[in-house]
Symmetry: C2
Subunit: 110 residues, 2 copies
DNA sequence: TCTTTATATTGCAATATTACGATATTAGAA
DNA sequence: TTCTAATATCGTAATATTGCAATATAAAGA
């Protein structure tokens, strides 16, 4: 039906899913990579970096912001975006947990 | 339009997005967590662990498999699922890269 | 063979996502 | 104030995702 049955899952599961989902689009990966590449806040040039129209980029930025993966500050007329450590820490912990498991796993049949 | 303009992004960006997207659903997070929790391959009991009907679970398993995040082996009449190290390594590298950046970042304005 | 058990596939309805043109908003510059 | 530049929001079309009942398939046991 297109509705995710969020109420049947734990808060942690829903939160991790929201973070991963927000990252799950090539334009949003590109935004994250660009923010890392320039190693500073980015004011406005993100639209020029992406092969998408301005309203579309704005929408992707909003989703990353809502998920807690980026932060935006007003910088005069434009806005300054940068990565939000908090969001990335949460999802990093999840992958570290998986990584630790994969290193020590036993009884694997496949 | 609902169409992601994949052709305008790099292979790496599309691949990372596909992996993150596959993880971006609470049911699929729950499947991953269950595979870790039992610390072995899981044959069939995943359906009983989730608050979803069998066809829905089957569909989620298929998506995780297509993304390269789990593997499935036939084990008699049932199927044995476990995590696929390869897929998780790829996305882990991405997050480690981000983590390294966040630790050393300068010139942050937000 | 027939049945049972486990899993996959099909088909469809409900909802979500993606993309963008048009338009609104907001802040500085003239 | 008026103009301009930067960003957000609205509205909408096209497509994707989610979920499940019904059904198909495949393997093992009686």
């Amino acid at each position: 039906m297109g509705i995710t049955k969020s109420e049947h899952f734990t808060d942690e599961q829903n939160e991790l899913a929201t973070l991963a989902k927000a990252i799950g689009h090539p334009a949003r990966i590109a935004i994250i990579q660009h923010l890392i590449k320039v190693n500073s806040c980015v004011c406005g040039d993100i639209v020029n970096e992406l092969p998408l129209a301005q309203p579309t980029v704005s929408q992707h930025l909003k989703e990353l912001k809502n998920a807690g993966l980026i932060k935006g500050n007003f910088e005069g007329a434009s806005i300054c975006y940068c990565l939000n450590e908090e969001g990335f820490n949460k999802i990093r912990d999840f992958f570290e947990h998986i990584n630790t498991y994969l290193k020590n796993k036993k009884n694997q049949c496949c």
